[in-house]
């Protein structure tokens, strides 16, 4: 089965700093989703990447998909305390279906 490994597992940054979270798949990526989760709450969809090289931005968050490396990166520019939470990547287990596998998540703390 597909496994998604996220790095780092946790991250503590000062407000205003940039940061990057990586998600690496053990198998071919047919697409990749990024979510944000506050502790004990539901997942909030951030963005979906479908094609290699695709890059999407939402406010100060940018994600890119590298199909060859089977990897996606999530970059936050000028982080704010509101960015704090757990970021999870998710990917379909096979092409043509959305039965997702999730990464373990990256816990982000932003100090004001």
């Amino acid at each position: 089965s597909q496994e998604l490994e996220q790095s780092p597992q946790s991250l503590i940054v000062q407000e205003g700093k940039n940061l990057t979270i990586n998600c690496t798949s053990s198998k071919t990526l047919y697409g990749l989703y990024w979510y944000k989760q506050k502790y004990g709450e539901g997942l909030i969809f951030l963005m979906m990447l479908q094609k290699g090289g695709e890059e999407k931005s939402h406010e100060k968050i940018t994600a890119k998909l590298d199909e060859k490396k089977q990897q996606s990166s999530l970059h936050i520019t000028a982080s704010q305390p509101s960015h704090a939470g757990i970021y999870l990547c998710g990917a379909p287990s096979s092409g043509g279906s959305y039965i997702p596998t999730f990464g373990r998540g990256t816990s982000l703390i932003v100090h004001p």
């Binding site: 004990g40 539901g42 997942l43 479908q50 999870l88 279906s97 039965i99 990464g103």
Partner: protein, 113 residues
């Protein structure tokens, strides 16, 4: 805008009891997914429904069953509860099963004592 509604938000049960979790998808969403997230774990897919029919099955124990009703709401029935069933249970809905955005509910926190 209407979001996915789950009830109850919190549930405490004893071992061997039964529990029923409910999920009300966003209006006009015909697909519902159920996930289980244990403490410190990533969400695990349990089961999904499309147009009231089971569409995919994940790691759902035989003690659990689920269905989707004519109004598209879904219920997850859990019997013979075990301590290990304590987790956050999320449902998500979408209007397009293929590579489309899933909207997650706030979750039901089940604690089995």
């Amino acid at each position: 805008a209407a979001g996915v509604i789950q009830s109850p938000r919190h549930l405490i049960k004893e071992k061997r009891e039964t529990a029923t979790l409910k999920c009300y998808p966003i209006p006009r969403h015909d697909t519902v997914y159920w996930y289980q997230q244990g403490p410190g774990q990533d969400p695990q897919f349990l089961i999904s429904f499309y147009e009231k029919m089971q569409s995919d099955k994940g790691s759902i124990p035989d003690r659990f069953s689920a269905q989707q009703f004519s109004d598209y709401h879904s219920e997850l029935n859990m019997s013979s509860l075990e301590l290990g069933d304590s987790a956050l249970y999320f449902c998500a809905s979408t209007s397009d099963v293929l590579y489309n955005e899933q909207f997650f509910g706030p979750g039901t926190r089940l604690t089995v004592l």
